[in-house]
Structures are given as structure tokens and as C-alpha cells.
């Protein structure tokens, strides 16, 4: 059954408040996207989120939205800290799945002759694929607990990178308030040998080329130039995060009953933010988020090592450094201005990215004049985008924007479309080297599976909730 929507303008749609909804829905999409959305369940999920207690502002959907579990992927919702709830389904199983973008001093001319060797080195040095684990970095329970508390800082303190890296990670790579004591033994066991691994599915490691600059002034501040080599890392909290989410969904089922919260969908189970259940979840979630920050920091170290070995250049010459590292799946306690009043809110971003504006104190000092960098990966065959956050996002979407391209084909449909094709050869013909652990994953991740990310970022730019800075083109892709 299609959900009733009203068009506001070329890129905004309203889902009117009705029935059990406490607020309206706000969907960022163009006409074509909306036509597709009416055929699946995502809009119903936007409507369901609007029924949760203490929601402030609309239930928001980004242009890369598709249906997920409880919250849609591409969903944003903010809740009052006194009256509102936290929902693990509003964060997702892969807590702090996110992207880090690294810049370098290298140009495409220097790297292209050795791109196959670089791809091989990355594939070898960063375990990927189903059940990827490291044999060289098996942490004790005690050490894993330190990772949960300290995040990327743990990695830097153990020789993986420098303090400078931490300045260019959301929350400086450590979310405060993590408590390993509320993380189950099972979650710790699942994560123990997975730190420093990519995982599978849509996770990737990419060597990219800065193909086009959209805003030269902002690009200069971010340290981007045409023909430059950048590296993207997309992964999250691995089995540790998945287990923490699962553990707390079970707890929240009971909490929803205890606090008499009516749920249109079991996956939206939640607890009042002031409750012990909510505090426990947020403390565990912070631990998982920190694990993911540490994961991307470790992978950064092995990326640097791989480039140094293959190219025979030292760190000072390569200057591989973090432009920024953003979370896609997280709940953050933030202060926002809503209807003229400062409000302390729990902002859920599930398949959505924080996009703070110029001048915001949480925007790193280096970028404070232009806005927080936002990294929007596309698919492995086309392009990705670098954006910066805007005042428009801060005012309209609690400082949030999209996170990627969003799927349009099921895995089954993608595999059918890929049958009989040589995907690796197709990519090679476009100048893209592929290294993958699973042929099935490659088939399921073909470009046709995804929206054109240009359409997504175009809606974002048109709506004023992000500003395009540069387009990146993949040269090498490592997939699990």
C-alpha cells in the first residue's frame, strides 16, 4: 500500500501526520526517486519512526533511502533527552559503519604503473571477506576492553598512526562514555580477532583519483587537487558491533513492554533515554563505535605501510593523512536549535552522515571556515563524492546528510544481471583493478545494484544539506 506524500518542492516531500504519528515525515528525493520509493517499504518505515515517543522535528529520510529494519537505511530522527527514546534499530547492527578518506601527495601518473601491485598489497595486508580475521593481532579480553574505551586513540598509542590523525576523525576517534562491562562476553569474542579487518558485503578499500573539483576554495582547505590519489576505507565494528546490537534489541523488546511503548514494528524497540536500559545501550554502543574507529585507524596504518613498500617512498614523501572519518550508523547526543530553542537531543543516523557547518565547534579547526567534510561513496564502478556540511543541514536535518548511493536491486536480481559477465574484466576495461574474496559479493555489488550517487548528492546540494567539493574515481577496489 503506497504511503501518502505531498510534494513541498523539487527535492522535498512531506508524509502528513496521521494516525499514531507524532510528527510528519520529511523525505529528500527527486520525482524519480519518489516513484521508486512508492514501490517498497521505506516510506512506511519513515512513518513508523514518526510514532516513537519524544521525537523532535520530522522523521527524516535522505535521498539514498531504502528499506531496512525498523528505521529505513538513510533515516534520521532526533529525540528529546527527557521525553524521548533511543532505539538500537535506529543505529543498525553495524554500529559506526563509516568511511575514512585519506589524502596523499601522490598523483595518478606516479601510481598507475604500480596500481596492480598496490591492490595486491592492500588485499594481502588488510584481511577481507566472509569471516575475515587477523592472526597477527589477536587481542586479550583486557586489551579489547581498552579498545572499546579509547577507540582510535588506542591504536595511535600502540604505534598505529599519529595524534594528528585523531584531529580528523568524528569525535576525534573516541566516543565518551563507553563501558566494556555492559558488553557481553559473546560480543567480545566475536570481535577479538576481527580488529583490523574489512569484512564483507558493501565494505571496501579503494584507491581513488580526484577527477574533478567542484569548489576549488574548499578543496584547497581539504587538501585536495585534481589528479591526486586518495584512499577510502569503508568498514565498521564487525562482529562485536553486530552482537552488541543483537544483545540490546533483545533487552529493548522487554524495555518497550516495561515502559508501555507501543511499537508498529518490533525492530523499533526502544527505551526512554533516562532509563537504565537506554544508558546501558548507549554505553555499549559507544564501545562498538570506538572499536570501529580503532579498526579504521589500524587499516590506515596498513594502507600507509602498503604504499611505502610498493612505491619505495617514506611517510614524509607520501604524506598519507586523514581528511576525515565519518560515522554512518550512530546515535549522538548533540545540541541543536529547534524552533528558536536550544535542545539537547539524541540524534539517530542510520545510513546517514553528520554534516556540521562552517563555524561549528565540532567541525575540526582546519575545516572550520568551510564545513565538516562528508564522504559519500558510490558504487565500485563509477564514482564517489566529497562534500562539506552546511548551515542548511544544521537547520533542517539536525546537521545530517546522505551516506551513499542506496541499493535499487536485490542481491538476487544483481546476481541474475551479472550472470555470464566478467565483472572484473569489465572494471579493468574502465581502468579499475579489482581484488575480491568472493565472486558472489562482486556480482551482488555491481554498479547497477545502486542508484547513481550523482543523483543522490545532486538532491543533497539542491536542498542545501551538503555542498559538493570533489568527485573521486576508483582506480583499485578491494572487496570482501
Amino acid at each position: 500500500m503506497s504511503v501518502k506524500v505531498e510534494q513541498i518542492d523539487a527535492c522535498r516531500w512531506r508524509i502528513p501526520r496521521e494516525g499514531a504519528m507524532r510528527t510528519e515525515g520529511l523525505v529528500f528525493a527527486d520525482r524519480q526517486m519518489m516513484a521508486m520509493l512508492q514501490k517498497e517499504q521505506a516510506l512506511e518505515q519513515v512513518r513508523n519512526v514518526a510514532t516513537l515517543p519524544g521525537i523532535v522535528g520530522p522523521s527524516i529520510a535522505m535521498p539514498d533511502i531504502h528499506w531496512g529494519y525498523g528505521f529505513p537505511i538513510g533515516g534520521v530522527a532526533a529525540f528529546d533527552v527527557e521525553e524521548g527514546v533511543v532505539s538500537p534499530g535506529g543505529v543498525g547492527y553495524d554500529i559506526n559503519c563509516g568511511v575514512r578518506l585519506l589524502r596523499s601527495n601522490l598523483t595518478v601518473e606516479e601510481v598507475r604503473p604500480r596500481i596492480e601491485l598496490l591492490a595486491d598489497a592492500l588485499f594481502r595486508n588488510v584481511p577481507s571477506g566472509v569471516g575475515s580475521r587477523r592472526r597477527d593481532l589477536k587481542l586479550s579480553s583486557a586489551e579489547t576492553r581498552k579498545v572499546l574505551i579509547r577507540g582510535a586513540r588506542w591504536a595511535v598509542d600502540n604505534g598505529y598512526g599519529s595524534a594528528e590523525d585523531l584531529e580528523h576523525i568524528e569525535e576525534r576517534g573516541t566516543i565518551a562514555g563507553a563501558d566494556p562491562e555492559v558488553v557481553s562476553a559473546r560480543a567480545l569474542e566475536r570481535g577479538r580477532d576481527q580488529l583490523g579487518t574489512l569484512g564483507s558485503g558493501n565494505h571496501f578499500l579503494e584507491i581513488d583519483l580526484v577527477e574533478e573539483i567542484g569548489d576549488q576554495q574548499v578543496a584547497n582547505v581539504l587538501g585536495l587537487f585534481p589528479g591526486q590519489i586518495t584512499i577510502s576505507i569503508h568498514t565498521g565494528s564487525r562482529g562485536l558491533g553486530y552482537q552488541i546490537c543483537d544483545d540490546h534489541l533483545r533487552m529493548m523488546q522487554q524495555a518497550a513492554r516495561k515502559y508501555a511503548i507501543e511499537l508498529p514494528d518490533r525492530q523499533l524497540c526502544c527505551a526512554p533515554l533516562a532509563s537504565p536500559e537506554a544508558k546501558q545501550y548507549l554505553a555499549a554502543m559507544a564501545g562498538a563505535a570506538n572499536f570501529a574507529f580503532a579498526n579504521r585507524q589500524l587499516i590506515t596504518a596498513w594502507v600507509r605501510e602498503s604504499f611505502e613498500r610498493v612505491l619505495g617512498k617514506g611517510p614524509a614523501e607520501l604524506r598519507i593523512s586523514s581528511i576525515y572519518d565519518v560515522c554512518h550508523n550512530i546515535a549522538k547526543m548533540e545540541t541543536h536549535l529547534y524552533q528558536g530553542q536550544k535542545r539537547r537531543l539524541c540524534v539517530h543516523r542510520k545510513g546517514a552522515t553528520r554534516a556540521f557547518p562552517p563555524g561549528h565547534p565540532d567541525t575540526p579547526e582546519l575545516y572550520r571556515s568551510v564545513g565538516q567534510p562528508v564522504l559519500i561513496p558510490g558504487d565500485m564502478g563509477r564514482y564517489s563524492y566529497v562534500l562539506v556540511g552546511t548551515q542548511g543541514a544544521f537547520e533542517e536535518t539536525f546537521g545530517s546528510t546522505c551516506h551513499g548511493a542506496g541499493r535499487v536491486l536485490s542481491r538476487h536480481a544483481a546476481k541474475k544481471l551479472a550472470r555470464g559477465r566478467q565483472i572484473e574484466a569489465e572494471l579493468a576495461a574502465r581502468g579499475i583493478v579489482l581484488r575480491a574474496s568472493s565472486r558472489a559479493t562482486v556480482a551482488e555489488e555491481i554498479s547497477e545494484s545502486y542508484k547513481d550517487v550523482l543523483d543522490v548528492v545532486s538532491v543533497v546540494q539542491q536542498a542545501g544539506i551538503g555542498k559538493i567539493v570533489a568527485r573521486l574515481r576508483p582506480l583499485a577496489v578491494v572487496k570482501g
Binding site: W67, G68, Y69, Y93, V130, G131, L249, C269, S410, T441
Partner: protein, 139 residues
């Protein structure tokens, strides 16, 4: 009724629809469906037996917890299940013997990593001919 499973399409993930003459058969078929999502390999030998005990608030949660336990065995114990026998199975608890073997990369091609089994549109219900279930997994 035929004891069976089939995989369901989802925009980003996959689902399992299972049918069984009994609740135990239903849970067995759902487990086969889970394994099928992970691997197409049929050469999985029942060399080792693991005992599994699961508790839950209701039948739906029991199914989710059962399948999540198999994911844990796959991911953290690197164990591929082949057969499932239930010593007891009620709406809120089960005791099972799972036979299988350690994952052998030379024989077992693992296609997908399952993060968890979700509550999304979960169904576990009795029908005129037996039992049916529907469950989605996050990939």
C-alpha cells in the same frame, strides 16, 4: 506438507521462508536456509557434534536466537553446521545437537557474512499443514 525452505529477496539483504511438519522441522529448515545464504557448498561433513541450548521470551525470539547461535558458531568458532537434531523444543527453549565440521577453505566457499537475524516481519505460526516461518537477515 513438504519440509522446505526458500530464500526471500530484499533490497539490501535476504530472507528465509521455511515450512515444516513440526516445530522442530521448521527450525531445521530455517537453519538450512541460513547455511544456504552463507555457502552453496554441500560437502559439509557431520564430523563434530556441538550441543546448543537456547532460551527466549516467545517463539519468534526463539527462532531468532537459534539462528543467531548458528551465526556465532560460523563466525567465531569457524564451524559449518550440517545436521540439526532437537532433544527438546518448546515455545521458549530448545536443546539441540548440531553436527558439522570446521570450515575448510579448500572445500567450503563462503559467499556471504551474516551480521545478525532481525525481527523484521518475523513470522512463526502454525498452519493447517504444520508450521511456517519468515525471517530476514542483515548482510
Amino acid at each position: 506438507m513438504t519440509n522446505c525452505f526458500r530464500l526471500l529477496e530484499h533490497i539490501a539483504d535476504m530472507g528465509i521462508a521455511a515450512e515444516g511438519e513440526s516445530l522442530a522441522e521448521l527450525f531445521r529448515q530455517a537453519a538450512f536456509g541460513l547455511c544456504r545464504i552463507v555457502t552453496v557448498s554441500v560437502d559439509i561433513q557431520p564430523k563434530t557434534e556441538l550441543r546448543v541450548e537456547i532460551r527466549a521470551q516467545d517463539r519468534e525470539e526463539l527462532l531468532i536466537n537459534w539462528l543467531n547461535e548458528l551465526i556465532f558458531l560460523l563466525e567465531s568458532r569457524h564451524f559449518l553446521p550440517a545436521t540439526f537434531e532437537f532433544d527438546s523444543l518448546t515455545d521458549q527453549q530448545l536443546n539441540a545437537r548440531v553436527r558439522g565440521e570446521a570450515i575448510d577453505p579448500t572445500r567450503h566457499a563462503l559467499e556471504r557474512e551474516i551480521k545478525a537475524v532481525t525481527y523484521h516481519q518475523i513470522v512463526v505460526e502454525q498452519t493447517a499443514a504444520g508450521w511456517r516461518a519468515q525471517v530476514y537477515v542483515d548482510l
